[in-house]
């Protein structure tokens, strides 16, 4: 029987009140003992956790793997390994695949494929067939197959009528829509934010206005139908303000932000580094500060990795041709820490709120419970390189860098990760 003994960890969980550090014994993936000053059982692997925080594993609401169709970017196995190494024990998979998750088949395929992995996988079904924004997909059938929420992934739903009907239909079947807010006519094919940087780079700019107009539209639709909506990866100051005002009015709106938008601005693009080419684009310092303020005052509910794996060939090309996105499962915690979040805030934004948004129960840290846990040291550093990277892809601007905030150990469904770096 495999026994793990976490010695002197600080437990952070809404239902766990003791501030005193605790020893936790895990046997075969279940919590067997919790208490202070426990005796180390014979044969247990001891992890010194005195500088560490123990929480339920992170839940990431915006992840891309390559299955089906793009397995060379990320397989279910490599993606789950990277997630667990990032302390992520639950994640929502976006339907940006070929084919998209737009019917029961793909949802069932993903759920079957994820059996035996140490990560709870929640596939997000597409709102429209092939994510084309024309015909509504079979949302109810996908819901029966296990989809908890719906989104057209990185395709905005351009047609206001379709968005309106989808919100209403989803309300009827008790499902939630995740919206990627961007007006395609305004955004065009611009690869970067419209701002001083796009001007000096000679690149077309994607204005923050393209995001804000769609957020304003969808807030009005959600209010009109008295239903909930979740915005994925908001990026601008005005977006934060629109959502803040909507929440104050009692509209059922939630939102998340990508970790990289909390630490980078468009200024990093001065030498056309395609590893920073993401969608929505990195914006200005003013936007970044507004996102931080939104996190602090509760306007922004969750932080996501927006993990988007690509082979080197998709990045090592001219900036205009490079694919959007960076991998982020293992850098989610370090980036959130770099952004200045404290352990209790991390647990709010990475553990508790994302599960509320998905509508899944928060696992407990209690005797006899299955261990769905992450042990992290917010001050420890590690190097993110080819030996520590568990993803099949390596498209991250942080590759090769020393990062602060380390997942020491993580465990879920009997699978565990133990840092050896």
């Amino acid at each position: 029987m495999k026994k793990i003994f976490l010695q002197s960890a600080t437990i952070v969980h809404p239902e766990f009140k003791s501030k005193e550090s605790q020893d936790v014994l895990i046997i075969e993936g279940r919590i067997a003992e919790i208490g202070s000053g426990l005796k180390i059982p014979v044969g247990a692997e001891v992890i010194d956790a005195k500088d560490c925080f123990l929480s339920v594993g992170f839940c990431d609401l915006n992840v891309n793997f390559g299955e089906p169709g793009l397995e060379t970017k990320e397989s279910m196995a490599s993606g789950c390994a990277a997630a667990l190494a990032g302390g992520i024990t639950a994640l929502a998979l976006m339907p940006n695949t070929t084919p998209a998750f737009h019917s029961k088949s793909e949802i069932s395929y993903i759920l079957n494929k994820s059996k035996g992995e140490g990560v709870d996988i929640y596939p997000i079904g597409a709102i429209s067939e092939d994510r084309k924004g024309e015909q509504m997909a079979e949302l109810y059938d996908m819901k029966l197959a296990g989809a908890l929420a719906f989104s057209d992934g990185d395709h905005p739903v351009k047609d206001t009528g379709l968005m309106s009907r989808s919100l209403l239909y989803a309300k009827g079947i008790e499902a939630k829509l995740f919206a990627y807010a961007e007006d395609p006519g305004l955004a065009g094919k611009a690869p970067v934010n419209e701002g001083p940087m796009s001007t000096t780079l000679g690149l077309k700019g994607n204005p923050a206005l393209a995001e804000e107009l769609m957020i304003a539209r969808d807030i009005e639709l959600a209010a009109y139908h008295d239903t909930a909506i979740h915005f994925s990866t908001i990026s601008s100051a005005k977006s934060v303000q629109l959502i803040r005002e909507a929440k104050a009015k009692g509209i059922k709106v939630t939102c998340d932000v990508a970790a990289h938008h909390l630490v980078f601005t468009e200024d990093v693009l001065s030498d056309f580094d395609s590893y920073y080419k993401v969608k929505p684009p990195l914006r200005t310092e003013n936007d970044r500060q507004a996102l931080m303020a939104g996190l602090k005052d509760g306007t922004i509910d969750a932080i996501v990795s927006q993990h988007t794996p690509h082979e080197i060939e998709f990045k090592n090309v001219e900036f205009g041709l490079a694919a959007f996105g960076m991998i982020g499962l293992q850098t989610l915690l370090p980036m959130a820490i770099q952004a200045g979040l404290k352990p209790t805030e991390l647990v709010d934004k990475l553990v508790v709120n994302p599960r509320k948004i998905l509508g899944v129960d928060l696992p407990k840290i209690a005797l006899g419970e299955q261990a769905n846990l992450v042990l992290f040291d917010p001050k420890a550093s590690w190097i993110f390189d080819s030996s520590s990277n568990r993803s099949r892809s390596a498209n991250s601007p942080l590759m090769g860098q020393k990062l602060t905030g380390k997942v020491v150990w993580a465990c879920n469904k009997g699978q565990s990760f133990r840092s050896n770096y």
Partner: protein, 312 residues
């Protein structure tokens, strides 16, 4: 030329952004010498005798390509020219592979035009050759800006203090950005003028004046640099028709004569006669369009010669 081979502060010429004012002055002084050479019966010098230069144009060009080729030949460099289709990526070969294949044949310098902004910089990080940017998307076209400023200097003796209006499609122009940076480094005042839809929203952050009225711009400036309407680079329509563009921004003799001073007219070519500029203006004595072309060869000789200094 001095015995000691002078050189630029940068190994590549990717944009005006990277040049110091001293670099620009050095290029001008060197170009003065080469311009003398070009007016001699024997127009050739042996400066780059042991250098091989590849001209790779992923986008159509007549004047810039010819100008570079001629500059290279006048410097006695060995040259190869390669007009690649910009769709070579869709055929499966990446830019790095294309260029490395050419470099495998022992090439020292690459002069490249490319439809994507930043392509020159990208290449400079990935291949072992000196890169000269002959235009990358709507980013920079440094030798054009240098020859434009050189032509202003030739006409007025100095660029400093001059007022230059760049008129036309600023959004899609690489000439505009390089010109703004180059003229500012030399102490000129710059204004951009064009349709509201073709002026980037944040252009003011570059420290230029913005004007939408052609007549006001012309009355303000000493030099008007008329840009070509780049219809091929517009993926969507930014103005209703060329006819309407010409009504608002076409420079004709009547407007030119109505000004209270004699301004100089420039154009980076190729000219759309009757669109941004009428024939009588293009061919008038106020136009220095053909001087620009002539100076282009001297400027490109200077740039190549000074970059080769890094090899010594």
């Amino acid at each position: 030329m001095a015995d000691q081979h002078p050189k630029l502060s940068t190994k590549h010429l990717l944009g005006i952004k990277d040049l110091t004012t001293e670099d620009i002055q050095l290029i001008f002084e060197t170009a003065d010498n080469f311009k003398d050479v070009l007016n001699r019966p024997i127009k050739k010098v042996p400066s780059l005798r042991d250098i091989t230069i590849a001209n790779i144009f992923f986008e159509n060009s007549t004047r810039t390509k010819l100008s570079f080729e001629l500059a290279e030949k006048r410097l006695s460099a060995d040259t190869i020219s390669f007009a690649a289709s910009s769709s070579s990526v869709s055929k499966g070969e990446t830019l790095i592979d294309t260029v490395n294949n050419i470099l495998a044949m022992k090439v020292d310098m690459v002069v490249m035009r490319h439809p994507h902004a930043g392509a020159g910089l990208f290449l400079s990080k990935h291949v072992d050759a000196q890169i000269v940017n002959a235009g990358d998307g709507a980013h920079e076209h440094p030798t054009q800006a240098l020859l434009d400023a050189f032509s202003i200097r030739e006409k007025y003796g100095d660029v400093s203090g001059k007022k230059v209006a760049i008129i036309g499609d600023i959004l899609h122009s690489r000439v505009a950005l390089s010109n703004i940076l180059c003229l500012q480094k030399l102490g000129a005042e710059v204004m951009v003028c064009g349709p509201t839809t073709l002026i980037p929203k944040y252009i003011g952050t570059l420290g230029v004046k913005v004007e939408h009225d052609l007549l006001k711009a012309l009355n303000w400036c000493d030099v008007a640099n008329m840009l070509r309407i780049q219809l091929e680079r517009q993926d969507i329509r930014y103005f209703p028709s060329l006819r309407e563009y010409t009504m608002l921004y076409g420079l004709n003799k009547e407007i030119l004569d109505s000004l209270n001073k004699e301004i100089t007219v420039m154009h980076p070519g190729p000219i759309n006669r009757g669109v941004e500029i009428t024939s009588d203006v293009a061919d008038s004595k106020q136009s220095i369009i053909l001087d620009q072309v002539e100076n282009g060869v001297a400027i490109r000789m200077a740039v190549l010669y000074l970059l080769a200094g890094h090899r010594a």
